[in-house]
Amino acid sequence: MKVKLSLIFSMVVLASMALAQTWDGADDLPTNPLACGMSSGGGEVAMLDYNGGMVSGGMSMAGEDIVLIDVPKLVGIGYFAATTAGQQKAAEQLGNVTVTTDAPTEANIDDQIAVIENYIASGNINGILFAANDPVAIAPVLRSALEKGIHVVGYDANSEPDAREWFVNQAEFNGIAKAMIDSLVAEKGEDAGFGIVTSTFTTPNQARWIAEMQAYQESCYPDMTWLETVEAQEDAVLSFNQANTLMNKYGEDLHGILGMTSVATPSSADAVTQAGLCGEVAVVGLATPNAMKPYVDDGCVESVVLWNPVDLGYAATYVMRAIVDGDLNPGDTSVMAGDLGELQVVNGSEILLGAPFIFNADNINDFDF
């Protein structure tokens, strides 16, 4: 009996230890908050030396047909369907590029690595486009691709810089963070209390944005109250439930919910609508326009922050072609990307797509993705 009791006791202790922990969901990296105020970001861009990787083997394929494989974090969600659409559009315009999208159906680091390993082993690809589920975990397999003479370009979610040649950055982290916080302040004032619905605490982009949001909010709007960050994978039902939990737990203290993923934001908006709290609780977040149109149209959501993922996929494909053709080399400060015109090189080996875009009732119906 004593054994049993002590076993149960130790389990309870362990469980309460686990429960007692709360997280803000931010990462440890240094932050770089932008200046306060409602101006549209776009601060100084630091010039660094090229810090990307090098592909080995001197076989030039300039102007020749190339076969690319695109490995996003996962397939089956609207966001990556949009980047795929952009890649197909670019491939069609260029005429000498074939892109196939293949990725696991869940955002799992091990499965993603296995997909890339298999394509390298198949021996019939010239380049890899990727959006990493983990920046470090994906690095060894990408390095082995570079060693085999396969070009590597990232988009959406970066790897370690030396594991790929270039990375197409959709928007700088501090720019997104500023847009999110500023939008919330515009709706609910400088002393709003808010909660965050994110994917998981280990997802690199989300952790980075949250860290930047924290830094920006602390320096610019110190009176805001950061209530809690909750995890909801990238799962619609879970996101809905977590948003409800926030509303029930904090009641009147909750003035806004920030959705950090394209799944969490519409689900949170849905939860707020169903709870009849439109106007009381603002929803601001990252999301694709189609998913948000109903909530923006009925006035429950005022602003949706994002870049254009179609352009992101489009730019990544053009960047890959430019590398193969020798039009983009270490040290260059810009690259031509078809309809998008000239894109700037930042942070050594990143290509910046532009400033974040805010969808609202005025413009959201102009977009279809």
Partner: protein, 335 residues
Amino acid sequence: MNSNTIDPIQPNPTKSANFGKRLRSILFSQEGILFIILMIVMAVLSQLNENFLTSSNLLNQGRLMSEVGLVALPMTFIIITAGIDLSVGSILGLSAIVLGILWKNVGLPLELAIVLCLVIGSLAGLVNGLFIVKLDVPPLIMTLATLALYRGLAQGVSQARSVTGYPEWFYIFGQGRIFGIPTQLWLFIFGTIISIIILRRTTLGRYLYAIGHNPVGAKFSGLPVSRVLLTIYAYSGFMAALAAVIFVSRVTTTRSDMGTGLELDVIAAVVLGGTSIFGGKGSILGTLIGLILIQLLKNGLALSGVTSDATIIVIGTVLILAILINNFVQSRREG
């Protein structure tokens, strides 16, 4: 009257009948059928892509398979006793985090951190065993609970931050080779041989089958049921921790969500290998063939240009077919 007079055409009927019987029993055993299916699958896949049947590809697949494989060995034991361990993926995550935290945040030497990581994994398995044995909690319920609990602990301890920057020598476990064979494949081969010996040649192995067939009977026959169960659940935790070390070394980072869903891959391989989920039946050889079949299907289909989502469908279909064929053949044999 002896058999010679009954059948004068056969000069030595006992010997040749025995040989035929043995051949048939090998060929039509669970493992035999699976092996034939594996050969057919490999033959088809090697026709689809010339890079499939190359030593570099096969060794690489062995490398990727080893983590699931190491955990599948104790899982075979556990399922033979009519138990199950759903918490292996979470134990992997927890052990990985312990390794990272002890080394980076506590500042222990990495060698010591590896040892402690294996200890923690074994303890996590032992806790499963203690509840199952002492409190009679059904294994499914207990390990379902610790599936959540260990994952939560991993998140709590790590604060959901990852640990990176391991020294170069550590990558030998996950990325290195010894005599041209990936390091973890050696570990897996070694573990497989040990497990085969335990199951076929030791009393512990006999106990496992006895417990699976009739747990009450085993207990009243004076078998050390509690000790056996504690041992195999701790073994399961140990192997999950070993897989964690390899995984961390392979992907060069530690994350608290490592090993999510591992339990399903492991159980699929074990059950495909002919181990009965109701206990009392199964073999390491079957598990090994099950593992290889699933791994090579995934790889071979990907190499021939089948996308990941379609691959899952094919694998699901092959799983069902393999089990149906096996059931059909087994019932014919018994009938």
